[in-house]
């Protein structure tokens, strides 16, 4: 028994505070939410138990998934995620690649590319709301005005006010904020590649391009995967940025997190909770294979 205690005691002591906190604050609350999602609490009186509510199983999920408006939100979410992911991965990778080679003022470039990450959505929303103003022609402001000033008038567009593509414009500030972080990840990845690998390739007479293409890039796939996961989960939870640039009622920028907010403010707690569960399932679809993959690769080591 004392041997057991000595073996189990210390690690348990270190980890149990976190386990308890996560069990209560993550799983306990998710449980409460899932329970609400399977009831018919759609009115103010039901939220406080002054009107009866009952268990309805998966009804709310069916209603949501068949509603054209929620489908529009889901479509927006996909579009937002695609632009956000593609943008951050593209710029992040490109910058890291450019900075991997000897560059004068590397520190300056790196700091400036990285800094938008330090800005809160509340703060960046203040300025992006201006920049993404949809007016064109004489009354143009923001980026549209800038395009006019530099003679790129044809680039003018109505940004997030477009019904079908508006949400992609909201992803622009998100790309601005997170590309630097992805760059940092890739840069760390590049620098973490053992020196010998580069030397060996050069000995073999590989050109710079071939060195990168065949030797260095493949080494970065775990980094790329982490970046996709981190950016991807931020994208699925996108809320603050949309709230600070657009408005929850604006149809063109609806995403599930916004729907959840609007349902909650309508006292429709069941639908709100159901949206939360759907988001969580979407996240799980993304994250669980990743975690399984992680576990597998570790076992093989």
């Amino acid at each position: 028994m004392p041997r057991n205690l000595r073996r189990w005691g210390p690690p348990l002591l270190l980890i149990s505070p976190s386990l308890i906190l996560v069990a209560v604050f993550v799983y306990g609350l998710l449980g409460v939410n899932a329970k609400t999602a399977m009831t018919d609490v759609h009115t103010a009186a039901q939220t406080t138990g002054r009107a009866p509510s009952s268990f309805v199983g998966l009804e709310n999920f069916g209603d949501l998934l068949t509603s054209p408006d929620f489908q529009h939100s889901l479509r927006n979410l996909v579009l937002y995620t695609v632009v956000f992911l593609a943008g951050t991965m593209l710029f992040g990778f490109l910058w890291a690649w450019l900075l991997d080679r000897p560059v004068r003022f590397e520190g300056l470039f790196r700091s400036i590319y990285l800094f938008p990450m330090a800005v809160s959505f509340v703060a960046s929303g203040v300025v992006w709301r201006w920049l993404l103003n949809s007016n064109q022609g004489e009354s143009a402001s923001g980026l549209n005005r800038l395009f006019q000033m530099v003679g790129l008038d044809f680039l003018q567009n109505n940004w997030w006010n477009s019904v079908n593509w508006g949400i992609a414009a909201i992803a622009i500030p998100a790309v601005w904020q997170l590309s630097g972080y992805v760059m940092a990840l890739f840069l760390a990845g590049f620098r973490g590649i053992p020196h010998e690998l580069r030397e060996a390739a050069r000995m073999d007479g590989a050109s710079e391009w071939k060195l990168y293409r065949h030797v260095l890039f493949p080494q970065l796939s775990p980094v790329a995967l982490s970046a996709v996961i981190i950016v991807g989960h931020m994208s699925l939870k996108a809320f603050d940025l949309i709230m600070s640039i657009s408005k929850p009622a604006n149809y063109q920028t609806k995403v599930p997190a916004i729907d959840m907010y609007v349902f909650k403010s309508s006292f429709d707690y069941a639908s709100s909770a159901a949206v939360g569960v759907i988001l969580l399932v979407v996240v799980a679809v993304l994250i669980v294979p990743y975690l399984v993959h992680l576990n597998r690769t570790e076992k093989h080591r």
């Binding site: 270190l14 980890i15 996560v22 604050f25 993550v26 799983y27 609350l29 998710l30 409460v32 939410n33 710029f91 910058w95 900075l99 991997d100 080679r101 000897p102 590397e106 520190g107 470039f109 790196r110 700091s111 990285l114 800094f115 938008p116 990450m117 330090a118 800005v119 809160s120 509340v122 703060a123 203040v126 300025v127 201006w130 009354s139 923001g142 005005r145 800038l146 601005w176 990840l185 760390a188 973490g192 020196h195 580069r198 050069r202 775990p222 980094v223 995967l225 982490s226 989960h233 939870k237 809320f239 603050d240 997190a257 909770a273 939360g276 969580l280 996240v283 994250i287 690769t297 570790e298």
Partner: protein, 296 residues
């Protein structure tokens, strides 16, 4: 401790200097590269230009239509007004963010150590369960969370926010530390075990001192996310005891005639501390990421 100090002073290995042909002299490729880097630099700085320029403009001057013009007259009024409005909240944010970042870093370090070194059946499952906490949409749990916090009697404002940032920081801090600790050679731990040190002693005397790079990453990460959080701030504090994001929102989204110059000055003020952290510690951040934490 010396090993850690060395890590800190040489945060990033110098870039690879091998190929001779790209060094010195003029080359088209090189010029193009700098042109591209510079172009991106300017694009990234566009919003900053607007923020800075507008923050020095008088009320009539600070309109969206004139966003790109320099101020007709430069004034500091917006800055003094924004400072008056935000300074109490800035101070509270410091009081909230510093302990939150430190506590969650230590928790993450302990978890990461245990989960990377203590191989028991189900360790991966426990880790996965913890990690999943990173992905929950917080709005979904807001009402039961409020009830829980009230039930526990945590006062609104700084104490509540510290607790929440610590709790919801556990997944990411655990992830970063666990990945880092997996790169520590087994021999280091074994050596200490042979010396008869228990797990706690090993953790305190061997592992903690070499954890500095990961601490830098985690501290910066938690500092930034706690500093920039708005959602928890709205629900668990008020304008009297809340952080700077809340105060900035009050300043920027006031009901009547938004004073753009003032909100832009406020946005810059609210961002300075995190910006400073990134500018001063940015290279350690990348260095820390490199020392194991990005391993997939």
């Amino acid at each position: 401790m010396t090993a850690a100090a060395a890590e800190l002073t040489t945060p990033i290995p110098a870039a690879d200097r091998a190929p001779a042909r790209s060094r010195g002299g003029f080359s088209v490729g090189r010029t193009l590269k700098y042109a591209v880097l510079l172009a991106f630099l300017l694009v990234v700085l566009i919003p900053v230009y607007v923020l800075v320029v507008t923050s020095f403009k008088g009320p009539g001057d600070a309109s969206p239509a004139r966003a790109w013009n320099l101020p007709t007259t430069w004034t500091l009024d917006n800055w003094t007004a924004a400072w008056t409005a935000l300074s109490p909240a800035l101070w509270r944010t410091v009081q909230m963010v510093v302990p939150a970042a430190i506590i969650s870093s230590f928790l993450g370090s302990m978890n990461g150590f245990v989960l990377s070194r203590w191989r028991f059946r189900g360790a991966d499952l426990v880790f996965t369960l913890i990690l999943f906490g990173m992905f929950i949409p917080y709005q979904a749990v807001m009402i039961p969370l409020l009830q829980l916090m009230l039930g526990m009697g945590v006062p609104s404002g700084v104490p509540s926010l510290i607790l929440l940032h610590v709790i919801y920081g556990i997944p990411i801090t655990t992830l970063i530390f666990r990945n880092y600790y997996q790169t520590i050679p087994n021999e280091l731990i074994e050596a200490s075990r042979v010396d008869g040190a228990g797990m706690l002693r090993t953790y305190a005397s061997v592992v903690l001192p070499i954890s500095v790079p990961s601490f830098v990453v985690v501290l910066i990460w938690q500092f930034t996310s706690a500093w920039n959080d708005f959602l928890f701030a709205v629900f668990f504090s008020s304008s009297q005891n809340g952080p700077v994001t809340l105060a900035l929102n009050n300043l920027a989204n006031g009901a009547l005639l938004t004073n753009y110059g003032q909100s832009m000055a406020g946005a810059l003020l609210a961002s300075f501390p995190t910006l400073l952290v990134y500018v001063l510690l940015g290279k350690y951040f990348i260095g820390g990421l490199m020392s194991g934490s990005v391993k997939g």
